[in-house]
Each structure stands twice: as structure tokens, then as C-alpha cells.
Amino acid sequence: MAEQKYILSILVDNQPGVLSRIVGLFGGRGYNIESLSVAATIDPLVARITLVTMANKPVVEQIIKQLHKLINVIKVYELTEASYVQREMALVKVQAKPEHRAEILRIVDIFRCKVVDVGQEHYTLEITGDEDKMTAVLNLLKPIGIKEIAKTGIIALFRESK
């Protein structure tokens, strides 16, 4: 069965060791983690883990059941099939030779990125958006010369009904 990308939003007790239970579950059972992001929610006793995995349908169903089985997991949402908003953020250090600077700033402008640091030969850009936008910007910056990237994993939430 074909693998596809699934975004899981997992609410857990905000306690030491909980992340390692989740990562351990994935490692021990051979499930894959594409990206992972964790932080406390508005309730300091609860944390949200947004996890992206590649799997086929029966495997992702098993993953969700296995997650539920962990005592510290409060809720698991599978966002892929619902309506949701997702964001990723990247900090990208691009080579900024004089002849490229205008081009870089044009990209920044079109994609509503930000220049957060300017060095002698490099600009550092902050890019926020969904995956498509991220890919588009990075594809444009690549020929100009990317020196370093730091990227968060995906974070995502359900859309509320309008």
C-alpha cells in the first residue's frame, strides 16, 4: 500500500520523559519520523507534539492506536484528512554578492519573508509558510547560494468552523 505523509497532533502530559516515550515508540516499532516539534500549550501541564510521518494507512492507524496506549498521551489528532493550517519556519543564510542583493530582496518581498540579519557577504532570511511556499522560496534561493539552513518541523492546527 502506498505511503503518504501524515501530520499527527499529539497532546501529552508536559512531563520529563514523555517525548522519549514517543520517540522510543517510533524507533522501537520501526515507524518513521519526518519532523517533530514540541512545546507547552496554553495549559502548562499539557504539551503539543506535531509529528509528521510517512506511512501507509494501516500503519498510521496502528501508530495512532499505539500512541493512545501510552499513559501520558492525552489525545491524538490526525490532521491530514481534515482541514487544517500548517506552518514551518526556516532561517536561511544566503550569499549576498552585490549583484544578487536586489534579487534576494525581491524574493523576500514577493514571499513576505524577512531579512533578520545582514552581514558583509550574507543575508539571513526568515521564511514562514506552508511546505509549498517553503519549497518554492528555497528553490529560488538555491542558485544564488545557500550557506546554512535551520528549519523547524511542521506545526499545525485544525481549522475552526467558520
Partner: protein, 561 residues
């Protein structure tokens, strides 16, 4: 009330009704041991921490209670890991207390420090490091609740030395609150109606029961279901005893060493009512070819067991006993027609399979292990609690001792731990002092926890050990014989202790049978002794367990001899 952590622990243990603890002391649990001695709780001092966990396991399985262990930090804790993993695989309710170095030393590579919570995370149902004495009572109560509820399992609590010695003002604790843990006991009735329909329509149904039925105490309901519907029953290794092995509807065990008829049934049936099983690879063989014509009703309390290996047609999440009770009620409202006529063709087919390929052996001039187990069954009238080691001995026990009641067959099913049987027998004997408890052992396995003979002696436990001595790691040798051109690499155990003298060295009774005609008298003598007894049977060295399905082959393709 001002109490130390150790005193608080005793309060909770009493509240939880703990009467027996299996343990082994050390530096960081001295405070706890000091308090333990002041209570009525019986402490069983084992000879190795692995033995403590298996004994607690046997105690839990035979007595349907939560087993409890207490060990020290570092090596004491790491020695429990095999036992914990075993209990986890077989879903046995257990609470393991490990000592830990004082909180301020944690993380400093202190003497006998080990991250046992980290080590046991993947093989416990849940585990805890207690950081403050204030948290202890709540955690312990929670642990007992988690261990025994839902799909049971072992829960480990790591208690730093200062947590047990610090005195705090203790208020008896409130109710347990677990935000995220609430097992589903009651089945979805819509699903059960679907199950009823499948049962009514089926022409060639079987019931397949496992350890979940034992754990839920649902043997009566399962037997009722089978009799009401006249559906034949097979069990996994873990399920043996939930349906009488003497019943005409009994198919024998299914799987790698299952009976011919049970395995053939899976290939031919049109419905499997699977209850408290997880379709382990030792049961299904090659999953792609398993039960190709069958719809599957799968009842289990653990949703992860359902459709994990074999997709279910009708999944039912619920406690086996409760769910079977509802299913029986629903079936009572239905008219099932003339079952004798309806089932005749199917049951005749099964009888044919049975008569063409029964479990069989020929007793000639060297003792056959099957003969020993069969004699043991006869002499104990099927009433004994049987524990086993792992290997051929375990399979012969499963095939030739016909269990009629649940909680009487205690075996390491999921993990397959050699060395399980003797400590498990000790635990079972403590849970059921009036029962005859027999460990059916291999010569290899028994040497893995033989030190527990001293424990049995110290507490006057008259467990009986039947060693089927083939001077081989027999099961591995069997694979080498059948699939590796008889190259017996690393399986010849020619040198073993003299088991009779060994028994005597421990102050127990040792008996030996070398000829077939000695088997019965040795068994009679050993079983009737009030002592701990080792009975050694020198058996045919190269006997194999049949039927056998080669690993990864379809379950209906058996080697028969």
C-alpha cells in the same frame, strides 16, 4: 501523621492488599526493607532478581492478582529486565519497585546508578521515577491501577534512597486521576450485532481464544459460546485451559506446533471468532496465506492488537469476559437452527483430520518425552498447575497435558524465556498453596535459574520439577536437524550436573528414570512427596516436536514426522 517514604509505601501496599513480595535487598532499599519487616507482608528472598520477577509473574498468573517485586538499584534493577519484558509480552499485572541512588546523585554516574526507567520504557506498561516523597503514595496507587486494568502489564517504580527515608506529613491519598487512561471494557453493541450475523451465517466457523480470555476471567463465557453455537475451539499457547482440553469441540492448540486439525481449520474455515488473541507470528505462519477464506471477528481490550497482523472484518474493542457475556445474550435471542445438522459436515471434516493425523508417538526402549507428559497428566488427573521452561519441553507440555481450567498453564509465551519455569512455579505455589505445581523443564533451561531451588527449600515450597533431559538445547537442535543439515552448532549440552545429586545438594529430593518402565514409579514417588523434588527423565536425545510449521511458511503446511 509524619511518615517516611518507606512507611508510606507500606501503607499503600496494605491498602492494595499486597500479601507477598518477591525481592532481593541492597543499599538503597534498606529503609524499605526495614519497614517491610514490621508488616505482615510475606517477603520471599529469591536468589537472583530475575527469579523475583518470574516468581511474581507465576504468582500473578496462578492467583489472578498483581505480582509485586522489590530490588535494589543498578545490578538489582538490570537483573529484572528479562522478567519484566516477559511479563510485558504476556500482559501480566505486576508492580516492580527498584531502589535508586539519592536524587541529588542521579545523573552523576553514582555507585550502582542505572537509568532503569529509561531501560524499561519499552518493556513496561508504564514506569515512574519518584522525585519527591510527596508524590510517592499517588504514584504507587496509580501504578497498581494501571498494572491491573485494561490490558494488564508490568509497571515499574524507581524510588531514590532519599525519597524512601525522608519524613513528610502524610495524608492518605485521594482518588487516582488519570486524564488520558481509560480502557474500554464495554463493547460497541452495533459491532456485536454484526458479529452475531456472521456467526449465524457461517458454515465452517472456529473460535480462537488466547491469553486475553484467561486474563479477563472469561473462560466460562467462552465455553458457553462454543457449546451454544457448536463452534469448535482452538487456543494459542497463552489461551490453553480456557476451554476444556477434553471437550469434543476441542481442536487442540493452533500454530507452529499446533495440531494438524487446528491448523487445517484455519486454512478452511469461513469464520474465526478470535477472542483475546493478537495473531502472533507463531500462530499465523505466513500472514499473507493465513485463513484465506475467513471473515474475522476480533474481540480484544487492546485496540492495537486488532488488525495489527491480520485485518479484522468486525473489530470489537472490549473486555473479553464482558463482551462474550453480551454476545451470548444476543445469541440467546436468535434462532440458530438445528446446529447438529448444520455443523455435521464441518465437524466430520475435523474428525477426519483428527483421525488421519493425531498427535502421536511410539514409546519403544528409550523414554519418550511425550510419554512422560502424558503419564504426568494421567497421574495428576489434569489438575496440576503446570509451569514450563522454553523449548521442546514447553511444546510437549502444551500438546500432551490436556488443560481443563484457566490459570493452570503458566508459560513464557511472548518472550520465550528459558529459566522461567522454576521461579514461576515458586510464585504459583505461593499463590495456591494447596495445589500441585509442576515445572516441566528442559535440561538447558533449568540451569538458567536453578539457584531458585534454594528459595523453594527456604520457604518449604513442594514444587515438582520434571526435567526432560535430552542433553541438547533441543528446540534449536531440532531446527538444525530439519533446516541446517544436522549441523549441531552450539546445542550439544553433554555436560550437565548430576540432577539427582544437585537436588540433594539443595536439600531437595532427586529422582531419575532412565528406562520407560521407571517413568510411572518415579512420577508417583516424586508427585506424592511433600518435598521439593527434581525428577530427571533421560529421554530420546533426538526426538522432535511435531507437527511443525517451518518459520515463515503457511500454517497449513506442516512437517508431520
Amino acid at each position: 501523621m509524619k511518615l517516611t517514604g518507606a512507611q508510606i509505601l507500606m501503607e499503600i501496599l496494605k491498602e492494595e492488599g499486597v500479601d507477598t513480595i518477591f525481592g532481593f535487598p541492597g543499599g538503597v532499599v534498606i529503609d524499605i526493607y526495614d519497614e517491610l519487616a514490621k508488616t505482615d507482608i510475606k517477603h520471599i528472598l529469591v536468589r537472583h532478581e530475575q527469579g523475583a520477577v518470574h516468581a511474581a509473574d507465576g504468582y500473578a498468573r496462578a492467583g489472578s492478582k498483581v505480582g509485586v517485586c522489590l530490588v535494589t538499584s543498578g545490578p538489582g534493577a538490570t537483573n529484572t529486565v528479562t522478567g519484566i519484558a516477559c511479563a510485558y509480552m504476556d500482559s501480566i499485572p505486576m508492580v516492580i519497585f527498584t531502589g535508586q541512588v539519592p536524587t541529588q546523585l542521579i545523573g552523576n554516574d553514582a555507585f550502582q546508578e542505572v537509568d532503569i526507567v529509561g531501560i524499561t520504557r519499552p518493556c513496561t506498561k508504564h514506569n515512574y521515577l519518584v522525585k519527591r516523597t510527596e508524590d510517592l503514595a499517588g504514584i504507587v496507587k496509580e501504578a497498581f491501577f494501571i498494572a491491573a486494568s485494561g490490558r494488564p502489564g508490568p509497571v515499574l517504580i524507581d524510588i531514590p534512597k532519599d525519597v524512601s527515608s525522608t519524613k513528610i506529613t502524610y495524608k492518605p491519598s485521594k482518588k487516582i486521576e488519570l486524564k488520558s487512561y481509560s480502557p474500554t471494557y464495554n463493547p460497541n453493541m452495533k459491532q456485536l450485532h454484526k458479529a452475531v450475523k456472521l456467526i449465524k451465517d457461517a458454515k465452517k466457523p472456529i473460535i480462537f481464544a488466547g491469553g486475553g480470555v484467561v486474563l479477563s476471567g472469561g473462560s466460562k463465557e467462552l465455553t458457553e459460546l462454543a457449546h451454544k453455537t457448536r463452534i469448535p475451539v482452538t487456543c494459542s499457547l497463552m489461551g490453553l485451559g480456557v476451554f476444556p482440553g477434553t471437550d469434543p469441540l476441542w481442536l487442540g492448540m493452533v500454530g507452529m506446533h499446533g495440531t494438524y486439525r487446528a491448523n487445517m481449520c484455519t486454512g478452511d474455515c469461513d469464520l474465526i471468532v478470535a477472542v483475546g488473541v493478537r495473531f502472533d507470528d507463531r500462530v499465523t505462519g505466513k500472514t499473507g496465506t493465513f485463513a484465506p477464506n475467513a471473515k474475522i471477528v476480533h474481540i480484544d481490550i487492546d485496540p492495537t492488537s486488532i488488525s495489527k497482523n491480520i485485518p479484522a472484518t468486525v473489530p470489537v474493542v472490549g473486555d473479553c469476559k464482558i463482551t462474550l457475556g453480551h454476545l451470548n445474550e444476543l445469541l440467546d435471542e436468535e434462532s440458530l437452527g438445528d446446529l447438529n445438522t448444520k455443523r455435521k459436515k464441518w465437524l466430520d471434516q475435523i474428525d477426519l483430520w483428527k483421525s488421519t493425523n493425531p498427535l502421536a508417538y511410539k514409546q519403544k526402549d528409550i523414554i519418550k518425552p511425550q510419554y512422560v507428559v502424558e503419564k504426568l497428566y494421567e497421574l495428576t488427573k489434569g489438575e496440576a498447575i503446570i509451569t514450563t521452561e522454553v523449548g521442546q519441553n514447553q511444546m510437549w507440555a502444551a500438546q500432551y497435558y490436556h488443560f481443563t481450567k484457566p490459570n493452570h498453564f503458566i508459560t513464557s509465551g511472548g518472550l520465550g524465556v528459558m529459566g522461567f519455569g522454576l521461579p514461576a512455579a515458586i510464585g504459583a505455589q505461593l499463590a495456591c498453596p494447596d495445589k500441585l505445581v509442576v515445572d516441566i523443564a528442559g535440561d538447558g533451561s533449568i540451569q538458567m535459574n536453578i539457584q531458585e531451588m534454594a528459595t523453594a527449600k527456604q520457604y518449604g515450597l513442594p514444587v515438582k520439577i520434571v526435567i526432560l533431559n535430552n542433553r541438547y538445547l533441543g528446540m534449536v537442535r531440532q531446527w538444525q536437524e530439519l533446516f541446517y543439515g544436522k549441523r549441531y552448532s552450539g546445542t550439544n549440552m553433554e555436560h550437565a550436573p548430576d540432577f539427582v545429586k544437585l537436588a540433594e545438594a539443595y536439600g531437595a529430593v532427586g529422582l531419575r528414570a532412565v528406562k520407560p518402565e521407571e517413568v510411572e514409579s518415579v512420577l508417583k514417588k516424586g508427585l506424592s512427596s511433600p518435598e521439593t523434588v527434581i525428577m530427571e527423565f533421560v529421554i530420546e536425545r533426538e526426538e522432535c516436536v511435531y507437527p511443525m510449521v517451518p518459520a515463515g511458511a503457511p500454517i497449513t503446511e506442516m512437517l508431520l514426522a
